[in-house]
């Protein structure tokens, strides 16, 4: 059992989606995350183990290398593609309740900002980390975050911004969320942000990279 889970983790880290995928070249022709995940579930390995020892391990490894500047956005995107191929097989088990998420994470790019690359990277790493991700998209108002929180009250929140014009909107959203959901963990991220800015606007944490967001939230809800 452990061998196939290790291979799933390796395929995700390396961005090996399925047997047909030519990437990465040295794994050409071999089964990828898609086939291996299906095989693992056919072998009746607990979907929670497939998640924890396969997907989470693979995404953690690549996410950590990304935060150390050892791999870059394309590597993370390929890994996420492989992770999503695995996740497609796990989805029915989440729906039936046989598999459990580690938590729910609501994320969006803040009002006025249309940039989504950073937000998408965080979504992928969180999903690969075993979290249910509710992606509200770009240009998200405080009201939309509140609506999502009312529907999923025990969630953590992630706010993304690329522009100095829109990073100021983060504070309004943090204030609105705190007023109604004082216990909610709020993390912020984006190129112009700093730890100090995050602290001053009342967020719980600044995540310099996607893995930082995941690590913080895993520790915070543990």
């Amino acid at each position: 059992m452990d061998e196939i889970l290790e291979r799933i983790a390796m395929c995700i880290e390396r961005g090996k989606v399925n047997a047909a995928s030519p990437y990465p070249p040295d794994l050409k022709g071999q089964d990828g995350a898609d086939e291996l995940t299906k095989a693992a579930l056919d072998m009746e390995i607990d979907p929670n183990d497939v998640l924890a020892k396969g997907l989470v391990v693979g995404m953690n490894t690549i996410g950590k290398k990304f935060s150390e500047n050892k791999v870059f956005v394309p590597d993370l995107l390929m890994a996420a593609k492989a992770m999503q191929a695995s996740m497609a097989h796990l989805r029915p088990f989440f729906e039936s309740g046989k598999a459990k998420h580690r938590g729910t994470f609501i994320i969006g790019t803040v009002q006025g900002d249309l940039h989504d690359i950073g937000k998408n990277l965080v979504s992928m790493v969180m999903e690969g980390g075993g979290w249910q991700v509710i992606d509200l998209g770009v240009d998200v108002s405080a009201e939309k975050f509140l609506d999502a929180l009312r529907a999923h009250p025990n969630s953590a929140i992630g706010l993304s911004a690329l522009l100095t014009t829109t990073m100021v909107n983060m504070e309004k959203i943090v204030t609105a969320v705190r007023a109604e959901f004082p216990e909610t963990k709020i993390i912020v991220g984006g190129a112009p942000l700093t730890d100090e800015f995050a602290r001053k606007i009342g967020a719980d944490a600044y995540a310099p990279d996607p893995q930082g967001a995941l690590d913080y939230l895993v520790a915070a809800v543990a």
Partner: protein, 299 residues
Amino acid sequence: MKSIVGAVRERKLLVSDGGWGTFLVAAGLGAGECPELWNVEHPDVVRNIAASYAEAGADIVMTNSFGGTRITLEPYGLASRAAELNEAAARLSREAVGERALVLASVGPTGKILMMGDVSEDQLFEAFAEQAIALERGGADACSVETMTALDEAGIAARAVKENTGLELVCSFTFSMKTDTGYRTMMGVSVAEMAQAMLAEGADVLGVNCSLGPAEMVEVVRELRAAAPEVPILVHPNAGMPQRKDDGSVWYPETPEGMASQVSDLVKAGASIVGGCCGTGPKHIQAIAAVVQRLREGQ
């Protein structure tokens, strides 16, 4: 039409302009508004930005067209107005600076990632071509494919400029990640890889802009000079990282004097054209111009 390469040959060092986005915000651009729409709705504000930079001593002034492809205009419902908004951008800068400065038209990334299938190569090429043609029609002297992080997108933008216009081409990348083997873009492109690829596309000038402050830019410029010994190098550092004021607004910590104190090191590292990116304004450019003037006289 005037040439940046010619001007560098003649004057050794040039001053370019500072940030446009932060300037527009100071002039009232709200979050969620399309900056390029101001080219037709608030032309006086846009003209005033260009004029302020020329006044401050910039030899090169850019245009309000960073997000001007139909792809970036689409979410605002303005895709069909791409040609109009870009032509206006170049015309306003030209009107503001006359023949006092060169007009370097800004072409930024689309925010789409080719390898994810967000957009096709043809769609990117068409969008950049449409923008470049309009910028030339509006009176630009040159075009800067800037703030790029991916070789494929930048290469397509460069080809779109070269194949559809007679504009001189600046290719400027954003290197935000420091690694054991030098700086890289978020897409993993090293300084040497960028230089080689963009020179192959016919870049007349190479550049580095955004994300880093002036002190870190010295290192990036040094790497770029080593990779490209012959071409002029443009450098546009940010004024540091934005900080929050007590009223909730944002300011950039690097002062005009602080920026100016790095100019000599940037030039020693190999820069030929020095300006600024986010958070820099006319005061920064004035301070940079004063140092450049002294360096020119020293030569």
